[in-house]
């Protein structure tokens, strides 16, 4: 009986001590705007080749959270993000927006005797130079791995 109670209690304690990564199931990024790609839709220009279109960046604030139990340190982990499939795919089209994502702004947002809660932003880089207008979707993956 004592062993069973201990095992059940251990599950509860282990749950509290477990490293947890939380992400929303889905994120809708604000639509891209022309002014992110050029100063205006009509640009005075003095000849030669028109300026290159920049890669667009989107910050996803507080995109994920990490629960680090007492006794562990986030510094002992690598926090990495990537775009699965190397990009966002158009619905019903073969075209793809090459995309990259990186982690920024990891910060401690709460702390209690059981552990610390950290929060981070994701910054998405989108290269829209080769795709036509449309709706695109993909999957972001965040991984914490021990060093």
């Amino acid at each position: 009986m004592g062993i069973v109670v201990a095992w059940l209690l251990s599950l509860g304690l282990a749950g509290a001590m477990e490293l947890r990564l939380e992400l929303p199931p889905q994120v809708a990024v604000d639509p891209l705007r022309p002014e992110e790609l050029a100063p205006a839709v009509a640009v005075p220009w003095e000849g030669g080749e028109a300026p290159w279109v920049p890669v667009v960046e989107r910050r996803l604030p507080s995109a994920f959270r990490v629960w680090v139990p007492k006794g562990a340190s986030l510094a002992a982990f690598d926090v990495e993000a990537r775009v699965l499939g190397s990009g966002l795919r158009a619905e019903g089209q073969p075209s793809r927006i090459p995309a990259k994502v990186r982690v920024e702004g990891l910060r401690l947002v709460a702390s209690n005797p059981d552990g610390d809660l950290w929060e981070g932003d994701l910054v998405l880089s989108l290269d829209v130079s080769r795709v036509l207008a449309g709706s695109f979707s993909g999957t972001l993956q965040v991984t914490l791995s021990g060093r």
Binding site: L9, A42, W45, L88, I97, V128, A133, T143
Partner: protein
């Protein structure tokens, strides 16, 4: 009970290192990429054909060989314009068909059309060096050296914002109402306006 709690802590601590090894989470992301077109336009262009260029353009051969009577290069105050001016088929016409290559550029992620128009076709003499005016008319454009000239041209395969579409324009210049004021050897006429409009279709 104390013994059970002690065992629980031990079991939990034994299990923790495995739980710390790695954690992975996925999230779906959606992006709307709206229709975008960017027009790069020249705010000012100065054409300075020489006298011999104009003579060639007015009457350079009879019959006029439009392929051979190209004015070599206009000197432009902006950028590196290539220009040519050829007479229409009727020799000695006062209308000089003037072509300005790379007049504008467009980037677009949806099929688009470009329309050109003359919103001010009177190039007024400055009153000091030139009097009267030069009249602009019959403006047309082509995209990407297609050879298809019209007031409106369409591009069904825009290719995305990484693709540049080069636009040329051409128009007639009627010099018959323009004259130089002595003793000047050249005159300035100005303030004509060609408008370029990009729209989706």
């Amino acid at each position: 009970m104390k013994k059970a709690l002690f065992l629980a802590v031990v079991l939990a601590m034994v299990g923790v290192p495995m739980a710390f090894a790695q954690a992975t989470g996925n999230t779906s992301i959606y992006v709307v990429y709206p229709r975008i077109a960017i027009l790069y336009y020249r705010s000012s262009i100065t054409l300075q054909p020489s006298a011999s260029d104009l003579i060639t353009a007015f009457a350079g051969g009879n019959p006029v060989n439009t392929g051979a009577t190209t004015i070599s290069t206009f000197t432009s105050g902006l950028g590196t314009l290539e220009g040519d001016a050829t007479t229409p088929a009727t020799p000695f016409s006062t209308n000089v068909l003037t072509t300005i290559n790379n007049f504008y550029q467009v980037r677009a992620n949806y099929q688009f059309q470009v329309t050109v128009s003359i919103t001010d076709g009177t190039l007024q003499g400055d009153g000091t060096t030139g009097s009267g005016n030069i009249l602009m008319s019959n403006v047309q454009t082509e995209l990407n050296d297609s050879g298809t000239w019209a007031t409106t041209v369409q591009q069904p395969t825009p290719g995305g914002l990484g693709t540049i579409h080069k636009g040329d324009v051409r128009f007639n210049l009627d010099f018959s109402g323009a004259s130089l004021i002595a003793p000047n050897t050249s005159a300035t006429f100005g303030d004509g306006v060609v408008q370029t409009v990009v729209a989706f279709y």
